[in-house]
């Protein structure tokens, strides 16, 4: 079985963010970098699938500058077999259609049986790349999975829908899934695996060889939301107030989810 897992290196969300001078993305200074959280679930699930079917080859793919290799090494230490680094110093400036195009170009002739991606990235958060790749490759895709089982050439997955509802989906391989929080707890790499990871294949491919599509979206401006006054005063009958409060808590916050 051939498996591909696509990951992205993102800034730690606790970092101090500043808008970059170009005004269309964040400044790279003073950021700590890590693997996109949803991609960690993807890597973990890919490694579990590999462990389940035994005879499998798992490739981890990441687009970015040389700096992303650090994050790829973590995926290799978690159990991926080889790394495909798409070298691109301006990957941050590429829109989801281009990113999906690059991945598709890489994957086209490699006949992967399963492709894992995160549900979305923590920085851009478009949530498009996974499903676009599936579409471009002509594969079925299942998004936002929170449960994954493989048997007899088919994936049975649970998808998370709004309001905590779940949907069971079954799909024959080859297929692509995008992974959501709750799917699994990513493993902590063991030291022998960290050492082995240093010796695993990690090839860099220049992005020019794979970028065959044009951008269709353009980021105009990036900015911090204006700080608005914090308070909100509700007035009226107690019963009605309670209903309005509940609906605000439900819609504007996460405390009731």
């Amino acid at each position: 079985m051939k498996i591909l897992v696509c990951i992205k290196q993102v800034p730690d969300m606790e970092s101090k963010f500043k808008v970059a001078a170009n005004g269309t993305w964040y400044d790279n200074q003073d950021l700590a970098w890590r693997m996109n959280e949803y991609d960690e679930y993807a890597v973990e699930q890919a490694v579990r699938l590999k462990e389940q079917v035994k005879d499998a080859d798992l490739t981890v793919l990441c687009i970015g500058s040389d700096k992303v290799k650090e994050t790829m090494k973590k995926a290799l230490a978690m159990g991926c077999d080889r790394g495909a680094h798409i070298a691109d110093d301006s990957s941050w400036d590429k829109e989801p259609f281009q990113i999906a195009g690059i991945i598709t170009e890489y994957a086209r002739d490699k006949s992967f049986d399963v492709i894992f991606t995160g549900m979305q990235s923590q920085d851009r958060g478009s949530g498009q790349v996974g499903v676009l790749v599936a579409e471009m490759l002509g594969l079925p895709s299942v998004s936002t999975i929170v449960d994954f089982a493989f048997a007899d050439g088919a994936i049975e997955a649970k998808r998370e829908l709004e309001g905590g509802i779940r949907a069971n989906v079954k799909v024959q391989l080859p297929a692509l899934v995008t992974c959501q929080l709750g799917l699994n707890t990513p493993r902590y790499p063991t030291l022998p695996n960290i050492m082995k990871a240093k010796k695993k294949e990690l090839l860099s491919i220049p992005v020019q060889e794979l970028l065959k599509v044009d951008a269709r979206l353009e980021t105009e401006k990036m900015f911090f939301p204006e700080k608005k006054g914090g308070g909100l005063v509700l007035e009226g009958e107690a019963g009605e107030l309670a209903d309005r409060l509940i609906s605000i808590l439900k819609n504007k916050t996460s405390v009731l989810k």
């Binding site: 606790e14 970092s15 101090k16 950021l31 707890t185 902590y188 030291l191 022998p192």
Partner: protein
């Protein structure tokens, strides 16, 4: 009248006595040697470890602990029982050796006798009193073990054998003496130099000479057989501690105290890290079990054990021994159990009090290393999250690394990147850098330095966690990467002196970082400030304050810093009402050993227990010297619901308030 006595009186000094007697002695010693050689093969299952360097100081350590019973008598009552028993029995051993020396060597070969005259008087009365002291102490120990039954004291067959045999050996000794004296010394002046024997002689004199001679002869041989039995039993019962505990003083860790061994992570041939099997522990870890006397002093002081957690340091040490001797293929982690291993706070109370110089803590860390490095296992997901946060941001709290120096913004101090010419580098640590409550420690310390005219620099966003909690949790890999980065940075700035406000940072930089060649001198803020105060550079107002003081484990037991912090509190006008458990007996706050990263899921909360001890003193301020302790106490006063009665404070805060 010559003050002496006839050696081998009544039993005879011919071949009929000497041949069987010496054959028995040789046989008994042969059994001991052979059995210990067999045990040595069991010790050798472990990895090599050099514990015979600095042999001179090792031997003097052994002598002072064996002959002076230094560690044993640190716990007063049972310690003195053992000490007095030992001294009594040891004098009897010397006495018997002198008899053998004279009768079978100096007298036999050269006709020279020294057991006579004044020396004989001294010899006789000393042995007589030694015998009675030994019997009384044995009785006291017997009453303690079998009637008072201290909680947690395990009593096994070995204890019954040992008590019984020792008692009978001592009593028959007096019977032999009494019978001999009844026939040869009653009414003479010599008898008064053996007061106990004299009493026995008087009470059995009615038997008449023939019976007394028979009783004497039979008891003499019986006594000899018992003593041979005692020697033979040494390797087979807890009597072995006579040899193994003494040897353990020689093999003891000679420091630096609390420094862990750095694993060689670059070793390409290493297949495993840490230990899961007895073959991955060192020989000393197995030997420690043989040196343990089950006195349970460690267990009595273990903060985990006393709050209902399954960890008993004594049991861990002995389980390792049982595996080595009985099931060498067994998995140590399964045998001891994960909950036990994760419960340790590395507070060192066990090691500090152990009268046998056993090393408990490094065994636990070694087993944790295997769980973390080989299995990626932690006591909980929150610990794994903290590890990952440290990998990304250099602190377990997961806060963006770039804001590490934000607390200092208004204080007018610079980072070494901005100005490396400083008097001291203040290594702030994660909690004083990021934690809202603990930032007060960092600010207070800087204000105190500024008041004393000390130019302080910090590393700011370049500083990373010292790695201590990760290392104690077993994550040697993460620790070493943090340590190497910090050392390279600090050495790069050419720092001469580092001061810390966190005892965990202090112990790690001062001891563990030397493996990575940290060059600077390292001092804890309590010692540093005390010197400033003493030299008059720092002046604080003395304002009355009733408080109690908590010795953190890493300033206290790990570094013996007890007086400097107390001097600072006194200078600030504080009157300390000590808690019952203070100084080297201090009770951990629960945050050591990386437990600061973990939730406490089993048993009572350790920090609440400690806070309640502080409440009992009636003081209204609980002064501490460690950000981990302060965090635990702020939490503990809420848990104990004493927020209005007791306020936790760091020494630095106390002093800065009085500038």
């Amino acid at each position: 009248m010559e003050f002496t006595r006839e050696i081998y009186w009544n039993v005879g000094h011919g071949a009929g006595t000497l041949v069987p007697m010496y054959l028995l002695v040789i046989a008994a010693i042969a059994v001991v040697v052979k059995t210990f050689l067999q045990r040595r093969e069991v010790y050798r299952q472990g990895l090599p470890l050099n514990r015979t360097d600095q042999l001179g100081s090792r031997i003097s350590e052994m002598l002072s602990n064996v002959l002076l019973q230094k560690k044993v008598t640190r716990v007063k009552v049972p310690g003195m029982f053992h000490g007095l028993f030992f001294w009594g029995f040891f004098l009897l051993l010397i006495g018997t050796t002198l008899i053998v020396l004279q009768a079978d060597f100096t007298d036999l070969l050269f006709g020279y006798k020294f057991l006579k005259g004044n020396f004989y008087k001294l010899f006789s009365i000393t042995l007589d009193l030694a015998g009675i002291v030994a019997i009384v102490m044995l009785g006291a120990l017997f009453v303690r073990r079998y009637f008072m039954r201290p909680e947690g004291l395990e009593t096994k067959k070995d204890d019954a054998i040992m008590h019984g045999l020792m008692t009978v050996i001592l009593l028959t000794g007096f019977v032999i003496e009494g019978a001999r004296m009844a026939v040869t010394e009653l009414g003479g002046p010599v008898a008064t130099w053996s007061p106990v024997g004299h009493l026995v002689a008087q009470s059995i004199a009615w038997m008449g000479e023939d019976t007394l001679r028979l009783v004497h002869k039979l008891t003499w041989w019986f006594h000899l057989l018992l003593v041979m039995g005692f020697i033979v039993l040494i390797p087979f019962t807890k009597f072995r501690h006579i040899l193994t505990t003494s040897a353990n003083y020689i093999f003891a860790d000679r420091g630096p105290r609390g420094k862990l061994t750095s694993l060689d992570l670059e070793n390409e041939d290493a297949e495993t890290f840490g230990a899961t099997s007895i073959q991955e522990m060192t020989w000393k870890d197995i030997f420690d079990a043989d040196a343990c006397t089950l006195c349970k002093r460690c267990q009595d002081r273990c903060p985990a054990w006393s709050t209902g957690k399954p960890l008993s340091p004594m049991k861990v040490v002995n389980q390792i021994g049982e595996v080595a001797f009985n099931t060498p293929e067994a998995n140590l982690i399964d045998t001891i159990s994960r909950d036990v291993l994760w419960s340790c706070t590395t507070c060192r109370a066990c090691q500090e009090i152990c009268p046998a110089s056993i090393e408990h803590v490094n065994k636990i860390v070694e087993l944790r290393r295997s769980m973390v490095l080989m299995e990626g296992e932690f006591p909980g997901d929150e610990v794994m999250t903290a590890m990952e946060a440290t990998e990304v941001n250099g602190n377990p709290l997961g806060i963006g690394y770039a804001s590490r120096g934000d607390w200092a913004e208004a204080l007018g101090i610079k980072t070494l990147a901005e100005d490396p010419q400083v008097d001291i580098l203040y290594f702030v640590g994660c909690y004083a850098s990021f934690d809202k409550r603990n930032i007060a420690i960092a600010k207070s310390f800087v204000k105190l330095c500024q008041a004393a005219g000390i130019k302080v620099g910090i590393l700011g966003k370049e500083e990373k966690c010292c790695g201590e909690p990760m290392r104690k949790m077993g994550n040697e890999y993460l620790y070493q990467s943090l340590a190497m980065e910090n050392v390279e940075l600090i050495n790069g700035y050419g720092v001469k002196k580092i001061v810390t406000t966190c005892p965990h940072c202090y112990n790690t930089l001062e001891k563990d970082y030397r493996d990575f060649e940290l060059a600077a001198e390292v001092e804890t803020y309590t010692v540093f400030l005390e010197k400033l105060l003493h030299s008059g550079k720092l002046k604080v107002r003395s304002e009355g304050l009733s408080c109690t003081y908590h010795d953190s484990c890493y300033l206290g037991r790990h570094n013996d810093i007890y007086d400097a912090p107390r001097a600072l509190i006194k200078a600030a006008g504080g009157t300390i009402t000590e808690m019952e458990k203070s100084r080297s007996e201090g009770f951990c706050c629960s945050a050591g050993g990386g437990r600061i990263l973990a939730e406490e899921k089993i048993g009572e909360r350790i920090n609440v227990k400690r806070v309640n001890m502080a409440v009992e003193t009636g003081a209204n301020v609980l002064v501490s010297n460690c950000p981990f302790c302060l965090t635990m106490f702020e939490d503990g006063v809420k848990g104990a619901e004493v927020e209005d009665k007791l306020k936790p404070k760091d020494i630095a805060e106390l002093l800065a308030e009085r500038l």
